[in-house]
């Protein structure tokens, strides 16, 4: 066994333990903020796995998109939604927990039998490594053009939706006028949240 092999095996074990541990933490911890931070750790370990597989570009993209964008947005969501609500303990909560656990264990068993039963044909080709970037680009603009473009349209839709939700400019004028009249002298000039409704066109 050479030095490189040893390093590879050790990093694989470390990454796998880190990923599984963090994923369990995301699910099992009560504090939602901890869960969100541990999710970042899961993404980082996945990116480490990509590096072990010689896919450095995918690894960097994983960090940029999942840790830098998705996870930060989740954290923003958690920290900005400041819902002060007393925690009411639910009676017989263990039933739902037990059901969830049973479903999860069942899914896990199903997937692992599938993994073990499938005759995997492991490719013996050498990973392309550093030229992967060029190959990914070529695929995006030839045989994977439609999914690529559809994904960007989806993102555009989400963007426009977010802008509309945030600006709340689509309230009809007469509704706004009614609102003006109801307003007391000391209210700040802000559009109230409750009035967003899709019922009036």
């Amino acid at each position: 066994m050479t030095l490189a092999d040893g390093v590879q095996i050790v990093s694989f074990v470390v990454l796998a333990v880190m990923m599984i541990g963090a994923a369990l933490g995301v699910v099992l911890l009560n504090n939602i903020v901890y869960s969100a931070f541990l999710l970042a750790l899961v993404f980082i370990s996945i990116s480490g796995m990509y590096i072990l597989l010689n896919a450095s570009f995918v690894a960097a993209a994983q960090v940029l998109i999942y840790v830098g964008a998705v996870n930060v947005l989740i954290l923003f969501g958690i920290m900005l939604v400041n819902k002060r609500q007393a925690f009411v303990p639910v009676r017989n909560a263990w039933i739902s927990k037990a059901t969830t656990a049973a479903v999860c264990v069942g899914l896990f068993a199903l997937l692992s039998t599938m993994v073990l039963a499938t005759p995997w044909s492991v490719s013996t080709a050498i990973p392309i490594g550093d030229t992967a970037l060029v190959e990914i680009g070529k695929h995006f603009f030839s045989d994977y053009l439609l999914p690529f473009e559809l994904a960007s349209v989806l993102l555009l839709m989400a963007l426009i939706g977010a802008v509309v939700l945030a600006r709340r400019d689509y309230l009809p004028d007469e509704l706004l006028a009614q609102e003006e009249m109801r307003k007391t002298a000391l209210t700040l000039p802000e559009r109230p949240r409750e009035l967003i409704s899709g019922s009036r066109k």
Binding site: F37, A40, F57, V63, L64, G68, A69, F76, M79, L133
Partner: protein, 372 residues
């Protein structure tokens, strides 16, 4: 191109000559560049703090630090000593785990990003094919650390500062990445070595700053915002937020946040030097001078001069940008948060998109000048 100085090969060769097996020699080599880099980055950040003090003083017609060492150069070292020996306090109602982890999360990605900063043809830790992209993706981890610091401090100023910092670095990442993309398009590569090589040849005339003037300005503004420098230091605006997400921090943890912010600033300046100012290339190419004098490129002393000149040039350009940043700090007032986001999303983003399109068009029209 001549291979230049290859430190790794010579080091491994020297150890194998002493009778060690090659594997062991390589294993001894592995930690060396990392340790060297951490030490070098710390020194660079300390020099940046000293420069900040001195230039700020000059801008305000003061003298600045003077008595500690020549020109007060030992002040940063004294700062570090003081912070190391301070008691490590964490306030009563903080979240102890997150509070301790947050400075590390800010600090480590920044130091990791130095992996790709080249100081010469071979004087770089790793020449990755994803190069600059690695820097962009690593710098996107920082907001998580800042949010963590803000949240765990259990203090409204800290939380506001953390949220502001995250919002700011998310919005300025996009123009930054788009202007880097224009450079990558011209160099046909993301590797920092290739980007500098593509700017070599005609000395100062072939630097990217002449081909990408708009991209240069966008990049510098966005980099200042990413490093939370004035005029974009809203996350730690003293008058409003005490010190933002750093409010509750002290001793070693504060030192990490502080060193991280200065290391980030130096890193941004180094990236400007690499992407736009020709990296290790001197204004008059050394190779051209050597040709004029009739010295062969493989002469050992010439390689030594080229190597050290490369390091000096990179650092000189980077600290020139740093000087500009400090001057800007005392020239421009702080922007408001809405102005900051307006500038990022409504001005820099469209302009950098147009810049990218123009670069693509110019690349098709003039392939000889824009790296066809």
């Amino acid at each position: 191109m001549s291979p230049g100085i290859d430190l790794q090969a010579s080091f491994v060769q020297a150890l194998t000559d002493l009778g060690l097996p090659t594997g062991a020699a390589k294993a001894i080599w592995i930690p060396l560049p990392m340790v060297l880099m951490v030490a070098a980055v710390t020194v660079l950040a300390l020099v940046a703090t000293w420069m900040e003090r001195k230039i700020s003083a000059a801008a305000q017609q003061r003298i600045g630090p003077e008595y500690m060492g020549p020109f007060g150069m030992m002040v940063p070292a004294a700062d570090v000593l003081k912070l190391l020996f301070k008691e490590n306090v964490s306030p009563a109602k903080t979240d102890p785990w997150l509070f301790a982890l947050a400075p590390l999360l800010v600090f480590i990605p920044i130091f990791l990003s130095y992996l790709i900063v080249p100081f010469g043809q071979r004087i770089v830790i790793t020449d990755l094919s994803v190069g600059v992209f690695l820097w962009i993706s690593l710098s996107s981890i920082a907001p998580i650390g800042l949010l963590m610091a803000g949240y765990s401090s259990n203090n409204k100023y800290s939380l506001l500062g953390g949220l502001r910092a995250a919002a700011q670095s998310i919005s300025y990442e996009i123009p930054l990445a788009l202007s880097v993309l224009a450079i990558a398009m011209m160099s046909n590569s993301l590797s920092t070595i290739d980007i500098v090589e593509q700017q070599s040849g005609y000395g100062i005339l072939s630097w990217n700053v002449w081909r990408q003037p708009v991209g240069f300005i966008i990049f510098w503004i966005a980099a200042l915002a990413e490093a939370e420098r004035l005029p974009f230091d809203l996350p730690e605006a003293e008058e409003e937020l005490v010190a933002g997400y750093q409010t509750e921090y002290g001793a070693v943890k504060f030192m990490m946040l502080y060193a991280g912010s200065y290391a980030n600033l130096v890193l941004s300046a180094l990236m400007v030097a690499v992407l736009y100012l020709g990296g290790w290339e001197s204004p008059i190419p050394v190779g051209m001078l050597a040709d004029l004098l009739g010295v062969s490129e493989t002469t050992p002393w010439l390689q030594l001069i080229t190597g050290s000149l490369g390091i000096i040039m990179t650092l000189f350009k980077a600290y020139l940008m740093l000087f500009l940043a400090v001057l800007l700090r005392w020239t421009v007032p702080r922007v408001r948060i809405d102005q900051l986001l307006d500038l990022g999303w409504k001005f820099l983003l469209p302009i950098s998109l147009v810049n990218l399109l123009l670069t693509a068009g110019l690349k098709l029209a003039f392939p000889f000048a824009f790296g066809g």
